[in-house]
Every structure is written in structure tokens, then in C-alpha cells.
């Protein structure tokens, strides 16, 4: 039997709604988050400013997809990351990584473009990595693999820590969180969201410099 993507999504959302119980308003599928208005500034360039952190986002971020797996609008995601970085007196630069939606690769591409060598990669659903250009792609400085646990506080702290690494400091890593029940609840949905996200990947395409009005 063939089922449309829309229908599968609806089923999952219904299951999630049930799970949230009667007390809480089930807001996720009702609230459509509008896309962000990005300005594309041409091919991304390698920075020379050692006082910057580059944030890399995958192709569908803020455009075809607009919120994380726990419904944080992508606008808020960027606001928190920017704020965290700027709190440490470091500049943030945004690039779209078009060639992949693999979080390690997105983060590493960002790090390679960064004047400080420090980059953040974040997927549409919220999975995040802080990377450094001299590390292997599958290594990282800090990894936040469970997207349902990446909330606003975590995002702000991730921005702050990335900035501290850029300044050559050795920050305490953002406290690791763990929810053993995230998988049964969210993994099917995460697979679905990732399949959607990868449809927009353009293999071999260069990254794009972005500006955005938050």
C-alpha cells in the first residue's frame, strides 16, 4: 500500500498529540511557522577574522522546513545561537551548506569556512555539532545527538561555548542530557523529517553566504 507523505506525517502527529495528553494544548501541527527571509550573498568565503564563529545550516533549514522536532521555530534557533556567540564578544556568520544534510559534514564545512576555525552545524530537526576545522569530520568538539533535547537554553549555551573555543578558551562542555525514551517517541519522526530534508541536498554544490533578518 502506498501512502502519501502528508498522511504519514499526520499519523505521527496524531500519535504525538495523544501522547501529550489532554491537559496540554497540542500545538505542533496547528502552528505553521512561516519561512525565514534569507538574503543569499553568493558563494561562502573562508573568513580571515579570527574573532568569528560560522553557523552552517542544511539546504531545507528555515525555508522548506521551519521548526525543530520540538517545535522551536528556526528563527528562534538562530536568535539563540547568535545571542550566545555575541554574548562572548565574538561575531557570528551564517552559511548554507548545500552539498549535504549530514550534521558532522555541515558543521565541519562551517568550521573550515570560519576565520577562527570553529563552526556550528545544526540540522532542521535540531541535531547540533560544534566543530573545529583541524578535526576529522566524524570527530567534534561537542555533539548534541538527541534533537528532542536541544532546547533554547541549550542553543544559547552552544553559541556561547563555540565563541569561547573561538577565543582559544577551554570551556566546560554544555552539560550532556540524555532521555532514554526519546528514541521510541521520536525516532520514526526523525527518520521521516530527515528523508524530507535530504530531498533538498545538491551533491557537490558549494556553500552559500547568507544574511537573515531575525
Amino acid at each position: 500500500m502506498q501512502i502519501s507523505e502528508e498522511l504519514v506525517r499526520q499519523i505521527i502527529l496524531d500519535v504525538l498529540k495523544q501522547e501529550q495528553g489532554e491537559g496540554k494544548p497540542a500545538k505542533r501541527q496547528d502552528e505553521q511557522v512561516p519561512p525565514l527571509s534569507f538574503k543569499e550573498l553568493g558563494p561562502a568565503k573562508t573568513g580571515t577574522d579570527r574573532n568569528e564563529v560560522v553557523i552552517g545550516v542544511p539546504p531545507a533549514f528555515g525555508t522548506h522546513m521551519t521548526k525543530t522536532i520540538i517545535d522551536i521555530p528556526h528563527r528562534e534557533v538562530l536568535k539563540e545561537l547568535f545571542a550566545g556567540i555575541e554574548e562572548e564578544g565574538v561575531k557570528a556568520r551564517l552559511v548554507r551548506v548545500n552539498r549535504t544534510a549530514d550534521v558532522g559534514a555541515v558543521a565541519h564545512d562551517a568550521a573550515v569556512l570560519s576565520g577562527s576555525g570553529i563552526g556550528i552545524g545544526i540540522l532542521c530537526r535540531g541535531t547540533t555539532v560544534i566543530h573545529q576545522r583541524d578535526l576529522e569530520i566524524l570527530q567534534n568538539l561537542e555533539l548534541f545527538p538527541q534533537s528532542p533535547l536541544v532546547d533554547k537554553d541549550a542553543l544559547r549555551a552552544i553559541g556561547r561555548n563555540a565563541a569561547k573555543y573561538a577565543k582559544g578558551e577551554h570551556p566546560s562542555p554544555v552539560p550532556t542530557r540524555n532521555d532514554p525514551m526519546a528514541r521510541p517517541k521520536y525516532q520514526g519522526l526523525a527518520a521521516l523529517l530527515h528523508n524530507k530534508e535530504t530531498q533538498y541536498v545538491k551533491p557537490g554544490a558549494p556553500s552559500t553566504e547568507l544574511s537573515v533578518q531575525l
Binding site: Q139, Q146, N178, P180, T198
Partner: protein
């Protein structure tokens, strides 16, 4: 609905309804074992070269097809094996009169689509029968996860000791913070040998670091060398079947046991399943493993279990992939290592699929810590399930690899392991483990019961240890100097084992006397009732004697 039926309200609140279920979505491969996009079995061989595999001509092969055709398929048995009707082959899998050796001989003549078409003929009970008959090592065993949320070294050492003492043959750690890896590995090295000499330990992190730790003697084996069933997912992992084979050889050349990891659902999870069923793609992984000459595989969906777990027939498929692995004469570490449900019923039912027939490692990670401390994102069973598990073994007379223990015994090994690690840290100039930390780790349930260590200080110190070329021998020296002669001896014996290399054989583990037990000297000889592994004699006496059972003599 305006008015809810009260039974439905109760049902809606049941844990099982917190799980995510998905109807099949075939276009992207959200389907367990039967997709219309799966190829039909076929093979053509010309001049000793496979020129057609499962309906695809050689010039159209992707790199996985090429690798399987050139390195897994045995051209001398392919025609014979492929000519056997799939249903007939399926019956041979469960026929006690058809020996394992015959099936293993034929297995390398099969193509991926053929294996899938055979497995589709079996129901779950038949799959369990096939597993009982086909697993590589006669004696079933078990692997534990030893991790915690704070990467606390003394707690890791204590937990490793308890896990080894309770009977786990292998223990595996990973990290919250990547740079902690060598310190976590060291904690398991010391703790594991304290709990039971000969236990194998590993630290699952990024592959280059993992290999480096193995070569330095901080670990004994590795299993998180991942392979995938589609080319794009391989490429996303920055790898090919050849680069993975190279890595496998690197481990083997240094005397380190290793197995690959794969599992249903990973390709669709990563967005590139090409519309194929999860089982078809997984069988390709199994055949890549066989082709690489690697002795074993961790599969059973593993970290993607939420994906097959959400579609119809998914948990049956997970057993089917384990069976395909042992059919290829590989060691299997059969999953059960990741939470996939809120429902205790589903959880136990899923585990029985491997527990009842027995596998080389029933769990490829039973949580030897409370699940909140499990840094593999939670296992199906944790420390709070120990007694349930021991009772299941006793109820069903099944050897699940764990032995009943006493509280006094556990306290003693936990304390000794934490003290031993304290001494090692002191000798190696690592940040001190205080007496209070030893005491807290000894009696802790999990990290909620212990304090915080100074993380940046720990990281700086272990970085420095690695930079100055620290190895397992430094640990041996420190233990010996500080009076932990028995642990020093065990840690050293494990290093000697790497030079001998005997534990590189399929399904190998060490006994507490450092004898290797593997598919070579402990081969599975199951051929029906009265044969194969039987839980009896001394072992059954040990397993049935749980401390909480009342002794009639005492009343």
C-alpha cells in the same frame, strides 16, 4: 468524539501508546522486509567473475554490489546455492537433519536478494530455531554497556567491575564528552579486570581515536565500525567498503578483536534507502562484512531500532537480520541495546527473540548502569532489571549469560575497582580520585548519588597522557607498584593476548583463566534435542540459585 468510551481512555494512557508507530512508506524505504523495489534474486558468472547480481548487470553495479560480488560471493558454490528453491532453503534452516556446516558452506553462494527471499519464508519461532542452530559459538553470552552521564571515572570503574562480576563477557563504554574517551577506556580496563579476569573492554568513539586507544592497549576490541547498505550513506560516513576493510585489517594487525556494526533502519534514517526494504539493505551490510573477512557483526537494528520498531513486522525483521548474520558464519552481537518502547511487554517480547535461542552476545549492550546514565541513549534493560532477568533464566532454564550475585560480593568488587583506579590516577599524575569519591562510587545507584569532577582538569590531564604516549603498560606498572598485583597481572595478560592473537577467531572471548572460547574450540553443534548447548550441571546449579529463593532446609 464527544463522549469517550472509558476503556479507550485507559488504553490511550498505556505506555505502548507513547510509542511512535508509522504505516509503511515504501517510496523512501520505511518498510521492514518486503519492498516492491527490492530486486529479484539472480546471479550470472562468466570466467569466474560475477557479471549479474540480483538482476543488475556488472556495469550498473554500485560499490556495494561490486564488493559483494568480488569478495563475498563464492563462485564455486554460487550456482549450486542459488539453484535451491528459497522455500526449500528456508526449511533447511530449521531442519535438525541438515547440519549447520552444510548451510554455512552454501551461504556464501547466495546473493542478498536470495537471502531475503529465504528469510521471508520463516515465522518468528522458525527464526529462533534457525538462530539456535546457526549461531557460531556454542555457549551463549552477553555484552554490557558501562557509561555514565558525568563520564565519572571512579563510577565507570565500579560499574565495569560489577558488570564483569555478574557475568558479562564483554563491556563497552562511550562518552558524554568526546575528549574523555581515553579516561573512560582506562576506567573499564582497570574495573573490568577487577570484576572478572579476562573480560574484554572497548570504548566506542570516532574510529581513528578508537584504533589509537586499542593500539595503546587501553581497549581490547572494537565494534563500532559501521557499514551501510546504500552507497550514499556510506559516502556520508566518509567511507567505502574498502576503507572499512582497511580499518578492519588495522585492528587485526595489532591483535585487536573487532566486528562491524550495522542494522536495519540506518539507511532510511539517514535519508538514502532508495526505497528498498530495511532487511534487504541490512543483508547487503552482512555480506560486506563477510567479504571484508571480519569475524563478526553487531546488528539487530541497534541505534535505529525506533525505525523498524515503528513499522509492521519490524521486530521480526530484527531477528531475521541476526539469523542472516550467523548463517554467514559470523559472530553476532544481537542488539537489545537501545530503548525502543515505553511498554514493558514489548520490551520483553523483543528481547526473548534472542534470549530464548541464545546468540553469541544476546545483548550488544545491557545497561550496567541505570538507564539515565546510559550514554548510548538508553538500553532495553538496565541495572534495575537484573533480578527480573535472573528469574527469567531460572523460570525458562535458559542461559542468558548472567549469574546470581550477592550484595557483599558486588560491594567488594566495586570498591576494589575504584581504589585500584584511584591508585592508577595517582601514579600517572591524573587528577586525584578522593577517598570520598571511592566510597560514593562503591555504593552508588548512578550519577545522582555522586559528586562532580572538575571536567576541564580531567580533560587536560588525559589529553596530556595521550600526548606523552601513555599506554596500557603504564596502567600495569601503576597497579603493580601500588599493590594491585592480581589486577596488574590480568591487565598484562590481556596485552599478551593481543600478541598471541587467538582471540581474533570468530566469536572469541576469554574465560577467567585466560583461555579463549570461540567458534573454533566451542563450535555450535546443535542438531536437535540432546545436542548443542544445554543449561545443566554446575552452570544450571549456579544460575538457579538466586539469593532470594527460600531454602527448605532453613525452615
Amino acid at each position: 468524539m464527544a463522549k469517550r468510551q472509558k476503556r479507550f481512555l485507559v488504553l490511550a494512557d498505556r505506555p505502548v501508546n507513547k510509542d511512535g508507530f508509522i504505516k509503511e512508506w515504501i517510496d523512501v524505504g520505511l518498510v521492514a522486509m518486503d519492498s516492491p523495489n527490492d530486486p529479484k534474486p539472480s546471479i550470472k558468472i562468466e570466467n569466474g567473475v560475477v557479471v549479474e547480481l540480483d538482476g543488475k548487470r556488472r556495469e550498473d553495479f554500485d560499490m556495494i554490489d561490486t564488493f559483494i560480488a568480488d569478495h563475498c560471493v563464492d563462485k564455486s558454490v554460487a550456482q549450486e546455492a542459488m539453484a535451491i528453491d528459497s522455500l526449500k532453503f528456508a526449511r533447511m534452516l530449521v531442519d535438525i537433519n541438515c547440519p549447520r556446516s552444510e548451510l554455512v558452506r552454501l551461504s556464501v553462494g547466495l546473493t542478498p536478494a536470495k537471502v531475503v527471499s529465504i528469510l521471508r519464508e520463516l515465522n518468528v519461532v522458525e527464526l529462533m530455531m534457525a538462530m539456535q542452530k546457526l549461531r557460531s559459538r556454542k555457549t551463549p553470552m552477553n555484552q554490557a554497556h558501562v557509561t555514565n552521564l558525568k563520564d565519572s571515572a571512579p563510577l565507570l570503574a565500579a560499574d565495569a567491575a560489577e558488570a564483569a562480576y555478574r557475568g558479562f563477557a564483554e563491556i563497552e563504554t562511550t562518552v558524554g564528552v568526546v575528549r574523555y574517551a581515553p579516561m573512560n577506556a582506562m576506567s573499564l580496563l582497570v574495573g573490568g579486570q577487577t570484576g572478572r579476569p579476562g573480560v574484554l573492554a572497548q570504548c566506542a568513539v570516532e574510529e581513528a581515536l578508537e584504533l589509537s586507544m586499542g593500539m595503546r592497549g587501553l581497549t581490547h576490541y572494537a565494534e563500532t565500525v559501521s557499514v551501510y547498505g546504500t552507497e550514499q550513506v556510506f559516502v556520508d560516513g566518509d567511507d567505502t567498503p574498502w576503507s572499512k576493510s582497511f580499518l578492519a585489517s588495522a585492528y587485526a594487525s595489532r591483535g585487536l578483536k573487532m566486528r562491524y556494526t550495522s542494522g536495519t533502519g540506518s539507511e532510511v534514517q539517514m535519508g538514502y534507502a532508495e526505497g528498498k526494504s530495511m532487511l534487504y539493505l541490512e543483508v547487503r551490510c552482512i555480506m560486506v562484512t563477510k567479504g571484508a573477512g571480519v569475524q563478526g557483526l553487531q546488528n539487530g537494528s541497534i541505534s535505529c531500532i525506533g525505525v523498524p520498531g515503528s513499522v509492521p513486522g519490524g521486530i521480526k525483521t530484527v531477528l531475521a537480520e541476526n539469523v542472516a548474520t550467523v548463517l554467514m558464519n559470523l559472530e553476532v552481537a544481537s542488539g537489545n541495546d537501545q530503548t525502543f518502547t515505553h511498554s514493558i511487554e514489548r520490551n520483553t517480547a523483543r528481547m526473548l527473540m534472542q534470549f530464548l535461542p541464545g546468540t553469541d552476545f544476546i545483548f550488544s549492550g545491557y545497561a550496567a548502569e541505570p538507564n539515565y546514565d546510559n550514554m548510548f541513549a538508553g538500553s532495553t534493560h538496565d541495572v534495575d532489571d537484573y533480578d527480573d532477568y535472573l528469574v527469567l533464566q531460572r523460570d525458562l532454564q535458559v542461559d542468558g549469560g548472567l549469574i546470581p550475585v550477592t550484595e557483599e560480593g558486588v560491594i567488594a568488587v566495586r570498591n576494589k575497582a575504584a581504589r585500584a583506579l584511584q591508585a592508577v590516577f595517582d601514579e600517572l599524575g591524573l587528577p586525584a580520585i578522593t577517598d570520598e569519591e571511592v566510597e560514593l562510587a562503591t555504593y552508588a545507584h548512578g550519577t545522582k548519588d555522586i559528586g562532580d569532577r572538575n571536567v576541564p582538569e580531567d580533560l587536560r590531564a588525559i589529553d596530556e597522557f595521550m600526548k606523552r604516549g601513555g599506554t596500557g603498560l603504564d596502567v600495569v606498572r601503576a597497579l603493580a607498584k601500588r599493590g594491585f598485583k592480581d589486577i596488574a597481572e590480568s591487565v598484562l595478560r590481556m596485552q599478551i593476548g593481543k600478541v598471541a592473537g587467538d582471540y581474533l577467531q570468530t566469536s572469541a572471548v576469554y574465560t577467567e583463566k585466560f583461555e579463549v572460547l570461540s567458534a573454533i574450540n566451542d563450535p555450535n553443534d546443535y542438531e536437535g534435542p540432546g545436542t548443542g548447548y544445554r543449561l545443566q550441571g554446575e552452570r544450571w546449579e549456579k544460575l538457579k540459585n538466586i539469593p532470594q529463593a527460600i531454602d527448605p532446609k532453613d525452615i
